[in-house]
Symmetry: D2
């Protein structure tokens, strides 16, 4: 294992490089009997796809996925699900110039020094294009969680650079190219992005993800906490620099009398803990917020060094997202789905005989 | 595995409950030949110990550690290092009253519902006292990292509730009961804590941790990223609700031209990335910041329910830290040390034959 | 992880050396609610205990076990179960002479070369005394498998050196010091062992283990096969050099028309496959047979080299079993129990919603 | 994880079914800088290929492999190596008749009962065709072990049914369709196989595998023993029912004075232990022997039941190997190679700083 697999029981293995022939993944541990087709994966992949608006990279990829195993007559068999997404629009010549230099903010330098060799075309293995595998694996997890437990996982763009984007409605999210839950701000953000793109610079973003319907009891003590595993899953997404569960960093300034979520027979009175206490789900919404750094590939010239260590400058003229956060919502949803499914399976392995002793009217209720 | 083990190659397994006979741990994977004695572990355990000032819990524990295996004639043998810390001051009667109720902000409810049984004495397995195991395991990792690679890992309290505590000097950290890197603010914080304690309430905190001297190349692509593993390790610490690497959430509002750390032949010009690019260490300082929620055990009465689901109130009168963040610094250091050591071993397993092609004058240099 | 942990979901971690202060273990993943006490572990440990007859080592150990965590008010809580067995009769002086030499058949040379350091007292970590941890962990697994699924795991000594010991009755097994299922041969074997002990030499043994009542469906395809995991578990026992499932090596000479177990509505017509097909349990008895090499510690002088590589001879005069296989039956049972429990949990994690479509009258039935 | 991945650091994940579109695998953890091309994998795959003589299945597959990632400009990059082998000659109609019945000796019944669904075409996931993935992964391991450590891994057919086939020369192995190391017996075995094929029955086989040049020190104590991991790897191969290391089951009848391999300054005087002591390699040849059961698919009618549990008979008329052991040699070599490479990496992770204190003239020497 060298970093390309995650999950204990819902286990995802990934391979592929930006300009190689294909990306692919293997999902091991999916329960048998789940109806599954290429379409289920494609639907989520299309949400992440490049080229879907002028605000994201113009690389043209159909991202067509092919399931190669683990499904028979339309249902999962319980064996490993292999799938493939061929790369189609890999213009390696775009990268010839920068193969000799380390782009600031990119993994060029660290891969070079770690491995003594690197595939510089489009970032190679470090490219965010690898997230096709996550989104495909997450699509399976989402489907199973929904059918088996009624869990619904949704996310939205909560900030675009300095612009906060307050949540208004889930209905808005899939109706704008930003995954904003606020239709009223779309025009403003389009103008902001147009200006940004013209400037040749990039910005960061915040994405929030919420899982509704998670039963009480998922997660393990001490190191196998649900929130710890979610933190790893989120921080493993390209460009993520911070992760919050529930109140997150706001908890620092809170008093205990404010933060600790009171309980009533009807349910919890608040959700500062983000649906996780002691590493175990409470039955409330699991709420996660992540910070994505600005795209490192920008057209503005930047100081750097070349492979001989000499000072030089670099500007990146390929096709890039001016804000990687814009396409991150489906990815963050996918990672949350995978982690929840992993813990659903882990929980029933150990506690399959436990009937939760208490039944709250509505654990999610926030008075 | 049900959550009580972490690490791939530097592997820590933990057991014990707050009011059981003992905590213990097993460190598997430590290289042979490291000089090691109880004293090495005790030094770090004493930094975390309860009762060391009036600002923390008054539970009296010597936290004396005994190494039971894996060390022969003062050196590690390469076999599993087992160690034990006996509990001494476990007053279980303090908890009789609350065994029937779920304390807000605690894991009482989630353990009860997950397992159908819980050891309510002092939080049982969910008690932060479990961190003795982490600190002991971290002491071994710190020592090895220092001797083998010159890595130094240090942390400090960066905020106490609403009070920001700017970094002034590492020298200050071990000279005050808060692990503040700012001697000038100690009096103010002591007064703040005295007032807080009297009020019966609690506050959150921010702890920053820094690893200096980490070589370029530790960490793995995609899911096994160094920062992803650090995020999990930090979020697994009791009360942690947020984790940042480098610029963290501030990266949202940054432009790419500001965030992406430029390089020069002398080294990096800034460290927004917190010493990690593409999941792999850059050779710069690894910088981590965590948010700890306010202590859930407070003297103020709070609404909750009992084991039959009936409404009631609870106030917690045991011995508790009014701010769990105060003792968190050695714990966060320990978790960072364990993760770095794990990745040091993972790196040399796969890339033991690679000589990093480039030698910067001073990778840490920030012009 | 460096070899001292096994199991995916029923996970056992072990530490300790022959002449250190204690052996200990951590069982992680045990379901909550199982009644468990020191007595449950002690019963099995006493079966493995040294000094119980003149035919085994005369080292005097009470092997008293103390559970340190994971049990509350007599029941498992679902958290890590830590336990400890103190060493009492460690006569390190016995080993001073041989610390400088490598005993043939022992791990002395390999530990020395691997780690550059070794605890030579009693074999250190390589001592078969480590099996106390396995037997304790196996006692928990046995109990859970019995109570939850009615699985019964039993073993017996099937050969002692060149002497085959045909199975007669399970009732005989605990009534003789050899775990023979054949009361009629006890006297003969006692005489054989007395003569062997006098000669200063040692012999190998065969132990058979059987699990009855294993439901159909445990085990995973391809690499996670039940029989593959059992093979690893058995081969990890000190001195084991061979493992067979079902017909084992006899399958080489069989025809397909003889080996392939026919099925009838009443059940299987034979059990050449040893209760496992395609890596998954059939519902028949799981049958395992292992070969244990002769004890390497013998009184006869043997050629070897010392730590400087010079030729010398060594004879071992400490207290040793003249046949390590004699005490191996409870150990093999324990390892089989741990593996089966691991797979029971793994199976219900993935296939917890599957109802086996077919119900045989009596899968074990062999017409 | 549900059984389709193995290895800790040299980690192989597999997917695919006999009559699905393709088999594929992911090798994670291969060191960077190894020269690697499709040809390296193809060479080994061709040795395992069906249809290469009249003595094996006549299914026509080119088994052409395509590396999809992890290799750049002819060298491994250290990232995940994905590869694909398309199925070409899948005649699913052959299997329509038996989809309703459970073939004796096959995994039909266990998959059906475990998952409640099964891909019956050609055995689905349980088909031995999955071993293409192992052989491809093993080809990479073999190459790295050879180049980095000079390790050579070779195997041969040691028994075909009741016919023992004594080792004569490695040179003979690739010159006959059976991988026999004995050219003199080829004619006799061809006649034997012709007769067998005509009879419609099948036989078992024994395959021996040897790794030469393994340095001292690979393997871990207690559960992570080299021999334990090899045992699991071998037992995970389709049809394997027994595994021996070194003297194997012959060790039962040996005396300690015979079995324990004496040492001299020139090397070991014998190799009963098969190159492993205490779970750690000795520097001698690692010798492994496995028993393969007779092919379960035979033309003779056998009693069985159908999916409703009713008595019926089944004969298998598809294209099958009359002895699966004939093509098992490259598979067993591959599994041994993967395990050795895994342990090579694990060893240098933990013990990378250890210089083995002693240098034998020739550890393999057997006087």
């Amino acid at each position: 294992m060298a970093g390309n697999t995650f999950g204990v029981l819902y286990c995802v293995t990934s391979f592929g490089e930006s300009h190689g022939p294909a990306y692919g993944g293997v999902v091991d541990g999916c329960p048998p009997g789940l109806e599954l087709s290429n379409t289920d994966l494609q639907r989520e992949l299309d949400r992440r796809k490049p080229g879907s608006s002028r605000h994201v990279t113009q690389r043209r990829e159909s991202d067509a996925v092919e399931i190669l195993s683990g499904v028979f007559e339309g249902k999962t068999t319980g064996t490993a699900i292999g799938f493939l997404v061929r790369n189609e629009d890999a213009r390696s010549k775009d990268y010839a110039a920068i193969a000799e230099k380390f782009r600031p903010g990119h993994a060029d330098y660290t891969y070079w020094q770690k491995y003594g060799i690197r595939d510089a075309r489009g970032g190679g293995r470090a490219s965010a294009r690898e997230t096709v595998v996550r989104v495909a694996a997450g699509a399976i997890a989402k489907k199973w969680l929904k059918e088996r437990y009624g869990v619904v996982i949704r996310g939205y763009l909560a900030a675009l650079g300095k612009n906060e984007i307050p949540f208004q409605s889930w209905d808005d999210v899939d109706r704008n190219p930003f995954f904003m839950a606020n239709a009223g701000l779309v025009k403003k953000m389009e103008a902001f992005m147009d200006e940004l793109r013209e400037s040749g610079d990039s910005v960061g973003a915040r994405v929030n993800v919420v899982a509704e319907g998670v039963p009480v009891g998922w997660g393990e003590p001490v190191y196998g906490r649900l929130d710890a595993d979610i933190a790893a899953a989120m921080m493993s997404i390209n460009a993520v620099k911070g992760v919050e569960i529930g109140a997150g960093f706001a908890a620092i300034a809170q008093k205990g009398s404010e933060h600790g979520d009171e309980m009533t027979p009807q349910g919890f009175a608040s959700n500062n803990n983000g649906g996780v206490l002691g590493g175990i789900s409470t039955g409330q919404d699991v709420t996660v917020s992540i910070a994505l750094k600005p795209t490192s590939s920008i057209r503005l010239p930047r100081r750097t060094i070349d492979r001989s260590g000499r000072a030089t400058t670099v500007e990146t003229t390929g096709r890039h997202d001016p804000c990687v956060g814009i396409r991150a919502t489906p990815i963050a949803e996918a990672m949350l789905a995978c982690m929840l499914m992993d813990h659903a399976l882990r929980h029933r392995a150990q506690c399959g005989d436990v009937v939760p002793p208490l039944k709250l009217d509505n654990p999610r209720k926030i008075n």
